[in-house]
């Protein structure tokens, strides 16, 4: 291997590495987010949401949180329809 070839390869690798590690990836980086807990009160009457009253509408004023019918999913089940 001649010195010229070595230099050519090394310079190519250096540039490639630079390109691969510094360019922006599509969609950006993945931010490291911690686990968190949140709650959503009824935006209409301000009441809290009770689990046994179902997920789709407010147990107090009838406001629709979601205009859909829940099916059997992973954690959410049909029974969770209000």
């Amino acid at each position: 291997m001649t010195d010229d070839n070595k230099k050519r390869t090394a310079s190519f690798l250096e540039k490639l590495r630079q390109k691969a590690t510094t360019q922006q990836h599509y969609g950006g980086g993945v931010p490291e987010e911690e686990a968190k807990m949140d709650i959503r009160d009824c935006p209409n009457c301000g009441a809290g949401r009770a689990y046994h009253k179902g997920l789709t509408s407010c147990a107090y004023c009838g406001f629709a949180f979601m205009n859909i019918t829940l099916t059997d999913g992973i954690h959410i089940r049909k029974e969770n329809n209000s």
């Binding site: 070839n5 070595k6 691969a20 993945v30 686990a35 009770a50 969770n80």
Partner: protein
């Protein structure tokens, strides 16, 4: 006039050209192979380091560097193909077109020279192609596998630490997260029954994303046993597949129901393809 046909055909220029052309072709491929080796030797440690330092959970820096390196090998393949078409294959056609009929003794002799040239050049090309594929394979595997097992164990430990640290946003009561969740999930407060929403950490979400790959890593030996069996043994395939899905389900138990349906499909397809 019959003397004309009796005169023995002789073409020393063609023989010399075949010889020198073959030699140039060999030297050209030797040089490409030397460059391939140089790039592989220098590239592998670089790839390994970039992989190690890549903090992106999808290892995208490493991925793009790998593709960029492989691109150079493909460039060398294109180059060899181009020379093969223009200087070997086309040459063979034009040389053959100028030969006496293959049915004549001289024609048959010269056709054999050209045929030998063709075989030598193509054999050398196939050797080059094999070596190039080996180099690509070496680059692909250079960084090794991501250590998903450690990441998973770390996440299990992290979950044990945080699972009791949440309180109800409504009444302030303590909420224990009953199990590891991988997506946003409704959790009722045990005191006031209010509907809270738990959002798992990025690292916990990645467990779901990597679950199959981790299960594959855990059952790699069974897979290899199947893949190296000759003829391929369906019993070994089924053993591997069941074990892989068992591991998968163990990592993300919430997905077991869905995973089983996928398992059934793979099993049916395998049986169909194997016995058809």
């Amino acid at each position: 006039m019959f003397d004309f046909f009796k005169k023995k055909y002789s073409n020393p220029e063609l023989l010399a050209e075949l010889q020198s052309r073959q030699q140039r072709w060999f030297v050209f491929l030797d040089r490409l192979e030397a460059r391939m080796e140089e790039l592989t030797d220098a590239g592998i440690p670089e790839l390994q380091q970039v992989f190690k330092e890549d903090t992106d959970p999808y290892k995208r820096s490493h991925y793009h560097m790998l593709l960029g390196l492989m691109g150079q090998f493909n460039n060398m393949r294109d180059k060899a193909n181009e020379v093969k078409e223009e200087n070997i294959i086309s040459f063979i056609y034009s040389a053959e077109a100028a030969l006496p009929p293959v049915t004549s003794p001289a024609g048959s002799e010269y056709y054999r020279y050209v045929h030998d040239f063709r075989m030598a050049c193509l054999d050398r090309y196939h050797l080059f192609d094999d070596r190039l594929n080996e180099a690509l394979e070496a680059l692909r595997h250079a960084a090794g596998e991501q250590d998903l097992e450690s990441a998973y164990q770390q996440e299990l430990a992290a979950f044990e630490k945080i699972k009791d640290q949440f309180t109800c946003k409504q009444c302030g009561g303590n909420i224990t997260i009953p199990k590891m969740f991988f997506i946003d999930t409704y959790i009722p407060c045990p005191f006031c029954q209010s509907q809270n929403t738990f959002s798992p950490s990025t690292a916990a979400r990645m467990v779901l994303h990597n679950a199959r790959e981790l299960a594959e890593q855990r059952t790699a030996e069974l897979r290899r046993a199947y893949e190296s069996s000759r003829p391929q043994d369906p019993v070994l395939y089924k053993k591997y597949l069941r074990a892989m899905f068992d591991e998968w389900n163990r990592i993300v138990p919430d997905m077991a129901g869905e995973n089983e349906k996928f398992y059934q499909r793979l099993l049916e397809e395998y049986t169909f393809n194997h016995y058809k």
